[in-house]
């Protein structure tokens, strides 16, 4: 299963359309879309990290996520890159929680067509301060610099990647989580847009006013920035997402395939009785009167037989024909087990 998470519909819309995902009708705390084959689930998580973590945890737990599954978080992030880097998709190779300073590293195993970058993740006005600081420090940065940025000179700031990673890592391996971020000049951290003027010009005006005010106060309030610029940007975000939807789909497909391909061995049910044909290991153990210790030894023996392609059932059928199986007691069971062991290890 591929689990997609987006913060809002602006980000998710173009992908939902391209992937022909349908809205899930069943009652759930978060809005979800899925494909017909139930191999892809897109969830709209909201943007606040706590809500996002709750969402990721709830979805992965509900769906029983585990080996072979993959998580792709897609969203926007504030950019401090300059130099025309905005409007492009980036894959995150390092996520720093802006509050705790803890760093998270998604494994970079599956090739992507996107450039890589690190991000800080948090949901307060600190993001804006951070960006200002970073801009001052970095100015315009080259591609090479972006790929090898000094610690603390991150390229992007988003609200939720650290939350997604932390919640996701309770279910999935670090190679099975990937983070795509569309770098935007000013993204929106707050979801609440009530009371905003509807026309773009008005939003822009308020945005500029807020910036001027913030400069004057020596303070840069991301919340008001977010509120104001959201309306202005939502249209742009949807448009930008649409532009890169094809690439995202290709990557998502390749990423999900890699995760599936990596795990078939691990995913297969362990144990000697993983083939549902004829006698199982449990049946045999019962017929041999195995103790728990004997049973675990028998299981390992049968597992080995399966691996090397030896037919232990045929051997047991032989003992049956001789009248030696099922055994009368544990003592006889031990003798037959030893016989079986010798035959299989020949």
């Amino acid at each position: 299963m591929l689990f997609l998470f987006c913060s809002d519909f602006d980000e998710a819309g173009p992908l939902i359309k391209k992937m022909r995902l349908k809205k899930r009708r069943e009652a759930f705390a978060f809005q979800q879309f899925a494909d017909d084959r139930k191999e892809i689930i897109m969830t709209i998580s909201g943007r606040d990290p706590i809500a996002v973590a709750a969402c990721v945890g709830a979805v992965l737990a509900k769906e029983g996520a585990g080996c072979g599954d993959s998580l792709l978080s897609i969203g926007t992030a504030l950019s401090c890159l300059g130099n025309g880097k905005e409007g492009k998709l980036w894959v995150l190779n390092k996520i720093t929680d802006a509050y705790s300073g803890r760093c998270f590293y998604p494994d970079m195993i599956c090739r992507s067509p996107f450039l890589e970058i690190d991000a800080k993740s948090g949901s307060s006005g600190r993001g804006s301060d951070f960006l200002k600081r970073e801009r001052l420090q970095t100015g315009t940065v080259s591609e090479k610099e972006i790929n090898s940025m000094e610690d603390g000179v991150s390229g992007l700031y988003d609200a939720d990647s650290a939350a997604v990673f932390q919640a996701g890592s309770h279910f999935l391996a670090p190679h099975a989580m990937s983070f795509l971020r569309l770098a935007v000049e000013s993204a929106c951290i707050a979801d609440d847009i009530s009371g905003l003027e509807k026309d773009e010009g008005g939003a822009e005006r308020k945005y500029i006013e807020a910036q001027v005010e913030a400069e004057e106060n020596g303070r840069y309030d991301l919340k008001s920035e977010g509120l104001l610029c959201r309306q202005m940007l939502s249209h742009d975000i949807a448009r930008m997402m649409e532009a890169c939807a094809e690439d995202v789909l290709l990557y998502a497909d390749c990423f999900a395939k890699s995760c599936r391909a990596a795990w078939p061995e691990y995913c297969e049910k362990q144990g000697a009785d993983n083939e549902n044909v004829g006698m199982t290991a449990d049946d045999l153990a019962a017929g041999l009167h195995c103790s728990e210790t004997m049973k675990s030894g028998l299981n390992q023996l049968l597992r080995f037989a399966n691996v090397i392609g030896k037919d232990w059932r045929a051997l047991v059928a032989g003992y049956k024909a001789e009248g030696a199986y099922p055994c009368r007691n544990k003592r006889d069971g031990k003798i037959i087990m030893e016989k079986l062991r010798k035959s299989l290890l020949k």
Binding site: N93, K94, C103, Y105, D107, M108, I109, C110, R111, E116, D118, N147, S148, M149, E150, D151, S169, L172, A173, P174, H175, C254, K257, S258, A261, A262, W263, P264, E265, Y266, E268, Q270, G297, Q300, L301, R303, F304, V307, I308, G309, R341, L345, K346
Partner: protein, 368 residues
């Protein structure tokens, strides 16, 4: 034995060392810069501490190994460890090991590192000087026999690190130390580099002594085992040619037939291997064989349990071993049969005192 290890089709993976993680303290460090210069296209990611990356939960070390990343780090705390029940100590009392690298670029199916480390990525510690200084203090008290290629194959990385050559220089100036470098490399180029560092032009006697204390130990396996279970390593012929080159340059090489791997036709395989060994190393070269170690596959319970989870299709890993005090091994009779048979074959060419069997050294060995 059939190798049923499924080769899963994994297209679109990044190549080895596509990404290099570097501890922030090492930014600008000369040695780090030198290593990085080998990988001009790698993405460099700064980290606080290698454990933040290496010790993450739920990693798939086998998958990571297929797209292995390099982590440049500094080692803190103790640099040298007492040789635990881990490999043959060849009768040396002060037997220690140093871990300058964690993990290996080779991918032996039976390698205990798969069960020991949570990650398949390779950690390179750059502060060798700290190891040397701890070692100097130890050497002031007693001689030391040190395994330096322990949780890795150091010679496989020599082109990148030059560590073995550094060790050669250290050995030259510190008469109390003997260093063992275990390898499965097929390369021969490192021998000359070691000789260079021993600097025979200056003090022949000191250089000759150092040469004798640089113990390169080749693990030898039948070609079928190499092909099926020792991915990335040198072929038997390449290893033997390298050994030959070393002997011709004056080194005394250790041969390790360890781990011996059981298969229904193990006898033929090992017999064929021994024939090839002594064809490549004929009578006139046997003086260059320092000694021979023989041991069948054995591994700690903890590592095997972890490996059984991640390698359910590996016949070596899933073999129903016997458990003895926390160590898994073949049944006693089989051990005797396998090791005894090989010892007999080797004994036809080399004196008995040169042949060490795992069990003659003590019931504590483990192999790699």
């Amino acid at each position: 034995m059939l190798n049923q290890n499924k080769e899963t089709e994994l297209t679109g993976l990044y190549p080895r060392f596509s990404h290099i993680y570097i501890e922030k303290e090492l930014k600008g460090n000369g040695e780090a810069e030198r290593i990085l210069s080998h990988f001009p296209n790698a993405v460099i990611i700064t980290i606080n501490h290698y454990k933040d990356l290496f010790n993450r939960r739920r990693q798939d070390s086998c998958l990571q190994h297929r797209s292995q990343k390099l982590i440049l780090a500094q080692k803190h705390g103790r640099m040298l460890y007492k040789g635990a029940p881990v490999c043959q100590d060849f009768g040396n009392q002060y037997f220690y090991y140093a871990s300058c690298v964690m993990n290996c670029i080779y991918d032996c199916e039976y390698c205990y590192l798969k069960g020991m480390y949570p990650s398949g990525n390779l950690v390179l510690f750059l502060n060798n000087q700290d190891v040397f200084s701890e070692l100097r203090s130890m050497l002031a008290v007693h001689p030391v026999y040190l395994c330096i290629s322990y949780d890795t194959d150091l010679l496989a990385l020599e082109g990148l690190t030059g560590y073995v050559s550094e060790w050669a220089a250290f050995v030259l100036h510190n008469p109390g130390i003997s260093v063992e470098i275990r390898t499965k490399t097929g390369s021969s180029s490192f021998w000359g580099k070691i000789l260079e560092r021993l600097d025979f032009g200056k003090d022949k006697e000191a250089a000759a002594s150092a040469l004798d204390r640089m113990i390169v130990a080749f693990t030898l396996s039948p070609e079928e085992v190499i092909l099926r279970h020792e991915a990335g390593t040198g072929s038997l012929l390449e290893r033997l040619r390298s050994i030959r080159a070393g002997i011709e340059m004056g080194f005394r090489v250790r041969l390790c037939f360890d781990p011996m791997i059981w298969s229904p036709d193990w006898k033929e395989r090992y017999e064929g291997m021994i024939e090839q060994v002594f064809e490549e190393l004929p009578e006139g070269m046997l003086h260059g064989i320092r000694d021979v170690g023989i041991g069948s596959f054995r591994i700690s319970e903890r590592y095997l349990k972890a490996m059984r989870r991640v390698l359910p299709h590996s016949a070596i890993v899933q073999y129903p071993y016997e458990n003895d005090g926390g160590y898994y091994h073949y049944g006693r009779d089989l051990i005797d049969e396998m090791e005894g048979y090989l010892a007999k074959l080797v004994g036809k060419k080399l004196p008995a005192e040169k042949i060490f069997r795992w069990e003659t050294i003590g019931d504590r060995g483990i192999n790699r």
